[in-house]
């Protein structure tokens, strides 16, 4: 007999495995890039915008704006500040890291 597994367990597995992936990946980040690491993690954690978009576009009565969608719209703006700001400032920093020029 095949038993049903709660989808929650699948997500939990993904979560736990990702923690381990994160652990090993982050230890391999060179210390000189720790500041860009923080700004880029900031940008990617704003993928929470996905939830904000769902909240904003949810059908709730007839009007475009309801209490819950307003929260969503506001969250979209906040997350967008982070996404654009985070990736751009990371790019700005990384563009400054240069190798020694070959002399003569």
């Amino acid at each position: 007999m095949i038993m049903e597994i709660d989808p929650f367990i699948f997500r939990l597995s993904i979560f736990i495995l990702s923690i381990f992936v994160g652990y090993y990946v982050v230890w391999s980040v060179t210390p000189s890039l720790h500041t860009p690491l923080m700004s880029v993690t900031n940008a990617i954690s704003s993928v929470i915008i996905v939830g904000a978009i769902i909240a904003a576009l949810a059908k709730y009565g007839d009007s475009v704006f309801s209490t819950s969608s307003l929260f969503g719209y506001f969250a979209i703006s906040l997350a967008a500040i982070n996404i654009f700001g985070g990736f751009l400032v990371t790019h700005r920093m990384l563009a400054m890291y240069k190798k020694k020029k070959k002399e003569k």
Partner: protein
């Protein structure tokens, strides 16, 4: 778009985020990594639009809000000076935290949109995940605001402590657990609001007792929190991209906190409990005041360096405050023209956030292969002719190796005193962040250069 297909795309964007972090293992691959991150984000957002499939007026508003946020973010990213990165990152953390709270609130008010049940009858597991996401998000938000204010100097960096502080915090943390339990039992919306309010309060209370010197740890810790908040919301929304990202960011922040704590020789617990710097100031300062020091001028310094064959620069945050990094690079250029080998030694807590000093040097066009971490370069001091300490203090203090009574005993320090001669640029003999005297000032081979870091560096360059 079917739920399975969009789940596959979310997984892809999660993998791209992993590659984005992987790229940071070396400066060469880092730009490509950042690009992976951007692609991952574009995929996640596009898939969400397609799976909601509601291209009505609402969609237009979503784009408008997205563009408003994007414009503000881009503006900040272009304008921000590199010295202000810690404030920027703290500010960004607060936004992630607040966004998490808003999404959780919205899911609580309108659970049907997220397929979580109906108002007043939300699935138990979702409600727990939602509460965790909202609570951690709120803590991240208010904590980051305090960190931002302290870093920006709007609020004093001094720790704020009061009696019964730890007891109060413990009670509030317990009340969060109790509130979550009651909320699950009753589905009451007022309890949900109280939970969020209390979480805001605890975020605020947790960060005010932590002193300015510990900010590198605090920023890393809040980085971690923002990840856990995202993961909590990811569980609520059953979204893999968010779960993967949350876990990545959570562990990344935790590792950085650990590295920072180790660099300052403090236990994580000790930092969290706060109050450092408030009590230990008066202990060891009295008997050492009157010892003789040798001081010199730019001429002496230039003479020493001209006759050296290798020089190690030890920059600290004071260099950034004095805006001396460009002047420093010019000095180094002149030295290199005279065939003098120059390298930079960076202590893990040299800036105000992890890796901050490396960014500041990179901005001043210092090639990254001349910049070394503590473990890489510490043995070279014994063979170097001159160590040039500029804007650093505690991280060079030999007391950390010799005096078990000292508050910084055991902290990893740069072995600057092993150099043939040490040039120490500083405005006065005053102690650094840790509030203790630096033995290095009084060593035979140390020459103190009392001046503003930028001016002194420029004067030395002229004399070379």
């Amino acid at each position: 778009m079917s739920a399975n297909l969009s789940a596959v795309f979310y997984l892809i964007s999660g993998v791209l985020f992993i590659l984005a972090l992987r790229g940071l293992s070396s400066p060469e691959t880092s730009r490509q990594g950042n690009l992976f991150g951007i692609i991952g984000m574009v995929i996640a957002i596009s898939v969400t639009f397609l799976s909601v499939g509601n291209f009505s007026t609402g969609f237009l508003y979503v784009l408008i809000f997205l563009i408003i946020g994007g414009a503000i973010g881009s503006f900040i990213a272009f304008k921000i000076p590199m010295t202000a990165m810690p404030e920027l990152v703290a500010g960004f953390h607060s936004l992630v935290g607040l966004a998490a709270v808003l999404v959780a609130v919205s899911a609580f008010i309108n659970p049907e949109a997220f397929n979580l049940g109906t108002p007043g009858n939300i699935k138990l597991a979702s409600l727990i995940e939602m509460s965790i996401g909202a609570a951690v998000g709120a803590i991240t938000f208010s904590g980051s605001i305090i960190a931002f204010l302290k870093l920006q100097g709007i609020m004093s960096g001094a720790p704020i402590t009061f009696r019964g502080q730890h007891l109060l915090n413990a009670l509030i943390l317990i009340s969060i657990v109790v509130l979550t339990y009651l909320l699950c039992a009753s589905q009451s919306s007022s309890l949900f609001w109280i939970l969020i309010g209390v979480s805001f309060l605890i975020g605020f209370l947790l960060i005010i007792p932590i002193g300015g010197a510990d900010m590198p740890v605090v920023i890393s810790m809040l980085n971690s929190y923002s990840g856990w908040a995202a993961a909590g919301i990811g569980f609520t929304l059953e979204n893999t991209a968010l779960i993967i990202t949350g876990a990545l960011v959570g562990s990344s922040g935790a590792i950085l906190s650990y590295i920072m704590c180790k660099g300052m020789n403090r236990s994580f617990f000790n930092v969290i409990l706060g109050g450092f710097g408030a009590t230990e100031q008066s202990t060891s300062n009295k008997d050492k005041e009157q010892r003789p020091v040798k001081s010199g001028n730019a001429d002496d310094a230039a003479f020493l360096m001209k006759n050296a064959s290798s020089v190690i620069i030890v920059p600290g945050y004071g260099m950034a405050v004095a805006q001396a990094q460009h002047a420093l690079r010019e000095m180094v250029d002149t030295l290199k023209k005279n065939d003098i080998k120059v390298s930079y030694a960076i202590h893990p807590v040299a800036g105000r956030m992890p890796g901050h000093m490396n960014v500041l040097l990179a901005e001043a066009n210092v090639p990254y292969d001349e910049v070394f971490e503590l473990e890489e370069i510490n043995n070279d001091f014994a063979n170097a002719d001159v160590a040039f300490v500029i804007g650093a203090n505690d991280v060079t203090n030999p007391v950390a190796k010799t005096d078990p009574q000292s508050p910084i005993y055991g902290m990893p320090v740069l072995d600057v005193e092993k150099c043939k001669s040490v040039l120490f640029v500083k405005r006065s003999l005053s102690p650094g962040y840790a509030g203790i005297d630096n033995d290095l000032f009084y060593k035979e081979n140390t020459l103190m250069l009392f001046a503003d870091a930028k001016k002194m560096t420029e004067d030395i360059t002229k004399n070379l």
